[in-house]
């Protein structure tokens, strides 16, 4: 039975935790607040430590519009600085990565120490000294950086809680896979998607959408075990779901996938997901880990970064098999990733015009696989940090139920 305009606009008869006002996805003001209240004040994954494996290696990143450079100093420690010359703001490092013993801004040749961020030289400095701008007042801003399980996290808030407190026990199912042997990033690409960053994050917490994936219908959704996995929720908005065994041989061309490259703690055919608030997902399909993180560009555009993790020092043959496992499903030309792109694109096309009022996150199945408890956990944390109820973001503070 169709609905009238009045009926359509009416909030659903559901707890406020079980639906989202779609303006939370595309409103400009909410997006600006998210950058301030969430993206600038939570720990944000920026890279794996292997991306700056050598002394003086650097890698650029962006969080909450802040341009960053992450480097491994001469003391071996990983630090992060704002990648902007203290003089007139030009990017100091222009390439995504490299190895430099000194960082020189190309514009006026101000130079910085990659270990300390200290400004170590300025051409003709006397004109600055004369007005009371000494060199030692011109260092780069250092940003809080911590590393856990080889994962580099950054926080723009100098007063934030320690990373270990933020993560808590949320990665208990992931830890063994990525922190037992030395790992490295074996593949990297980006997608610039026409969607809100939260919509992409939701593809990795909404397992009900897996009916969309043809490969999953053939290899997973007919397995009873698939539906009986428990979601585990944690403070600060994180969650993880139990693993299950995928029947890869049910998809043409994957019959010999069950090889001997399983990561520590995993069997080669197992699949597990961990989500870390606000925008990080770790997916492991037995032989390879995929890490998603996001750089929101606008309310309706997001840059998603995709990293594959493999074992450092393995043979070339094993490496190629692991990479091909990854790309067969999660690659740009794999079976699943294009379908996720389609899902968020179709969603944004319909919703961002402002005529579709609500998204439902109301499935309840005893916290099992296709229960929406993961999304409700995520939105509960969003509501807390934003001081807004996701179901009525312009009317009230988070509901008592949400708190």
């Amino acid at each position: 039975m169709s609905r009238s305009a009045t009926e359509y606009a009416r909030p659903p008869q559901l707890p406020s935790t079980h639906f989202v006002d779609n303006r939370a996805y595309y409103d400009e003001g909410i997006f600006a607040e998210e950058k301030e209240q969430i993206l600038s004040k939570t720990w944000r994954f920026v890279m794996h430590e292997s991306e700056v494996s050598e002394v003086y290696d650097y890698r650029t990143a962006t969080i909450a519009d802040a341009p960053l450079v992450v480097s491994r100093g001469k003391d071996g420690k990983i630090r992060t600085f704002i990648n902007s010359c203290s003089h007139r703001g030009a990017s100091v490092l222009r390439r995504p990565s490299g190895n430099l013993r000194a960082w020189q801004c190309m514009y006026h040749l101000w130079t910085y120490d990659p270990t300390t961020g200290e400004c170590i030289s300025r051409p003709r400095p006397e004109a600055f000294d004369a007005v009371g701008l000494p060199q030692d007042a011109c260092g780069l801003r250092e940003v809080k950086t911590e590393v856990i399980y080889g994962l580099v996290f950054v926080n723009l808030d100098d007063n934030c809680m320690p990373l270990t407190e933020f993560i808590g026990d949320s990665m208990f199912l992931q830890k063994e896979m990525i922190d037992t042997v030395e790992m490295e990033v074996i593949d990297f690409f980006e997608l610039q998607l026409h969607c809100n960053w939260k919509n992409w994050m939701e593809t990795n917490m909404d397992l009900y959408h897996e009916f969309m994936h043809v490969a999953n219908r053939k290899t997973s959704l007919m397995i009873p075990e698939y539906y009986n996995r428990n979601w585990h929720t944690f403070p600060n908005g994180h969650f993880t779901v139990d693993r299950y065994s995928v029947e890869y041989d049910k998809y043409p061309g994957w019959e010999d996938r069950n090889d001997s490259l399983a990561l520590p703690g995993m069997k080669e055919d197992e699949f597990q997901i961990t989500d870390v608030f606000p925008d990080i997902t770790f997916l492991t399909r037995g032989t390879v880990v995929r890490i998603d993180n996001q750089i929101p560009l606008s309310p309706t555009e997001t840059l998603v970064q995709f990293r594959a993790l493999g074992i450092k020092g393995e043979s070339e043959e094993d490496r190629m098999r692991r990479i091909r496992d990854y790309h067969s499903i999660w690659g740009l030309f794999g079976r699943n990733l294009p379908e996720d792109c389609l899902g968020v694109t179709l969603q944004s096309q319909a919703v961002y015009g402002g005529q579709v009022p609500y998204t439902f996150w109301c499935r309840e199945e005893n916290n099992l696989t296709q229960d929406d408890v993961a999304a409700r956990t995520w939105w509960k944390e969003w509501s807390r940090l934003m001081g807004r109820d996701q179901s009525h973001p312009f009317e009230s503070a988070p509901s008592a139920a949400a708190e």
């Binding site: 990565s97 740009l332 030309f333 294009p338 379908e339």
Partner: protein
């Protein structure tokens, strides 16, 4: 016998058109039984080359046969090969390089640039006509607007 550059160029153009039209069996017929297909790119972020796809002829054929079963993200791709440069033949293999531009057009007619890169082909000329012995698609583009089920 000199290299028939026109027939080689026709092969390149046909390989684009047949994938555009999703005539996958006809595309595979352009390839030798030993054909291998790769999509690669150089990662400035990792400072090393990446391989995003590797398929033998039979694997590629099987993969292409699954396309129609999937929810296809891209409405239509248009592959444009140009600046085709034919190298010197050696042991019946001719190396050929083409500049590649691919556009995608969404269901509403909106067209955007999808990827830019190079076809690095090895072409055999021993038979009745030239065939693809191998193709490496080297992409410049590493930030795409979507994934796709259909190779480039």
């Amino acid at each position: 016998m000199g290299i028939d550059r026109d027939s080689i160029a026709d092969l390149i153009y046909d390989s684009c058109a047949l994938l555009d039209e999703e005539r996958f069996d006809d595309y595979i017929a352009l390839c030798t039984p030993e054909f291998t297909y790769r999509i690669t790119a150089y990662s400035e972020e990792l400072r090393k080359p990446m391989e995003w796809m590797y398929q033998t002829r039979d694997d590629l054929h099987a993969l292409l046969n699954t396309v129609e079963t999937h929810e296809v993200a891209i409405a239509h791709l248009r592959r444009v090969a140009s600046m085709i440069r034919v190298g010197e033949a050696s042991n019946g293999i001719v190396p050929v390089r083409s500049t590649l531009t691919v556009y995608h057009t969404w269901y509403d007619g909106d067209t955007r640039l999808f990827v830019v890169g190079t076809y690095k082909d090895e072409i055999t000329t021993d038979g009745d006509g030239p065939l693809l012995a191998s193709r490496e698609v080297v992409l410049d583009t590493r930030r795409l607007a979507s994934g796709t089920h259909i190779p480039i």
